[in-house]
Symmetry: C2
Subunit: 322 residues, 2 copies
């Protein structure tokens, strides 16, 4: 079997050329030309088999998602992605698996114009850690901490698709073929909301990506902002498969709020400015789902009744699922 250097050359050498890469893969470290005026943005996220994705997830989906979850973090800062580093643990060198993984990752890198500039490929439990670097005008970066009472609370896309997809993959829920395909696709190949995040930069007062669950990520945004929020259940955008499933299983109405893995953007806008968003032609539709309150705490309004939301509200990596 070939060594590390050859595997990297074979599968990861392609990808977009960026003039800000002075020295890419192949030395002790990459050399990059930093942005002149912008701030750097940096984040890292791990996907481990059996924890973050089920055993037997297609390799191409793992490659796609390993980059997508990091692109989603960069989107939530209002930033543009530039460069990625990949640490990949493989139980054994499996050229077929590796080729498919690389295809999934590099296709998305092409779309997002991200150059893969370094990494570490080694034996170990199946796990992919991507570190992503990007840039943003400092004063326009989206933080979690800027939400103010009265701000409108908005959400991109729909929530619950990936959570329901995971139930399908685990054999706990049965859906019609097309609905199942849609939900599994949303689970395995999330779409980072890069254009939306960049549009929101300098416009939204706060933003976070919904990775662990709508409610837990809303709680994080509110805690960072020293505020509370009201979420209107009837306004929460659901795809037809999830809406239909929840209608058939009303006792599971919380799933779209807690299941996580949605990679949509949750953000706040100054009162009255949501109309701008409606007019901007963006990649994904956005929906107003509530508002920011002065008092700490999350309230959920459903069927005309407001109730405080308490307890676990999503996936915490150590506390476990809600």
């Amino acid at each position: 079997m070939s060594g590390e250097a050859e595997l990297v050359r074979r599968y990861f050498a392609a990808g977009p050329r960026r003039s800000d890469v002075l020295l890419g893969i192949g030395d002790d470290a990459a050399l990059l030309r930093p942005p002149h005026e912008d701030a750097l943005v940096a984040c890292t996220d791990v996907l481990t088999e059996g924890i973050h994705f089920p055993v037997d997830t297609p390799a191409e989906a793992v490659g796609h998602k390993a980059l997508a979850v990091n692109l989603s973090d960069v989107a939530a800062m209002g930033a543009r992605p530039r460069w990625a580093l990949l640490a990949l643990g493989l139980p054994r060198p499996d050229p077929q698996w590796l080729a498919a993984f690389a295809r999934g990752l590099m296709d998305l890198a092409d779309q997002a114009q991200v150059a893969l500039v370094g990494g570490d490929l080694c034996r170990g439990p199946l796990s992919a850690t991507v570190t992503l670097l990007g840039s943003v005008i400092p004063g326009r970066a989206l933080r979690r901490s800027g939400a103010r009472p009265g701000d409108e609370l908005w959400l991109s896309g729909t929530v619950g698709d990936a959570g329901l997809g995971l139930e399908v993959v685990r054999g706990r829920v049965e859906l019609e073929a097309e609905a199942a395909r849609f939900c599994i696709q949303r689970l395995q190949r999330p779409t980072p909301r890069l254009a939306l995040g960049q549009w929101l930069a300098g416009r939204a007062t706060a933003a976070i990506d919904v990775s662990d669950g709508l409610l837990i990520d809303l709680q994080r945004l509110c805690e960072a902002s020293g505020a509370g929020a009201l979420l209107r259940w009837e306004s929460v955008p659901l795809s037809p498969p999830v809406a239909g499933w929840v209608a058939r299983h009303p006792e599971r109405w919380r799933l779209p709020l807690t299941a996580g893995d949605d990679y949509e953007l949750l953000f706040t806008l100054p009162p009255g400015t949501g109309r701008m968003l409606k007019r901007a032609a963006l990649e994904v539709s956005c929906t107003r789902v509530g508002e920011i309150l002065a008092e700490p705490g999350i309230w959920v309004e459903r069927g005309g009744v407001r109730q405080p939301w308490s307890g676990a509200a999503g996936y915490d990596h150590f506390a476990g699922p809600a």
Copy 2:
């Protein structure tokens, strides 16, 4: 058990304050002020239990080494480290283990003036992936590719200590207590050669850090430079424990050349300039071990006989040990 955010706050919030960190741990990504004139340097390295370090390695040593191996890559570029991100997989949240790991990592971060600006802490097989960012004046960055025929070949510190330490840990070799302690210390707590790397920037023609083994890393430097090298066995610097052990086991003389995990710098200097290095007061002594040849290939001179070195020469992450 506490959730991820609290664990991070408790164990990783301290560390050096840097004015170039605009927003650290706690949002979707960090915001950093990039260097004005310098190039950015970026690298990532994984340590996985049972692969890169033996089961039951002290947590503090794992924390130290996870950062040290990346600092060594930055040193090999002649760069200054600035910021680190940590992806840590833990089979279960073990506060004692985590506290010791964090102590090992943060102590070295303090010494190297590196700010930990982000990360991902999650359940999974025990594994620590650090991504390190630094900066260097672009024209002075040390690459592997600049060695020219006639250049002097130099090495910092000693090689073989960590390799012998691993043999001791695995119970394959017995040493006197003090010698064993020294070798295990070198295995578990390598010292990145940051000051040396920065001194070499703009002076050395090529450099690489010896992580996988002196010979394999020399091969990589020579391949990148389109050159060959002569290595004089009698000049290779050995610590007293390794020198003594090799004297007692002459058939194992290759161990210091192939064992890896040394994290010393191997570099080339223009002919006649090695004296400068001797005069500069650096953190570690350096030794001339050979020279660069025009013809590709590695030659080892031992007992007055030159032989071509062929075959595996160190640790390849997929081909396995030599």
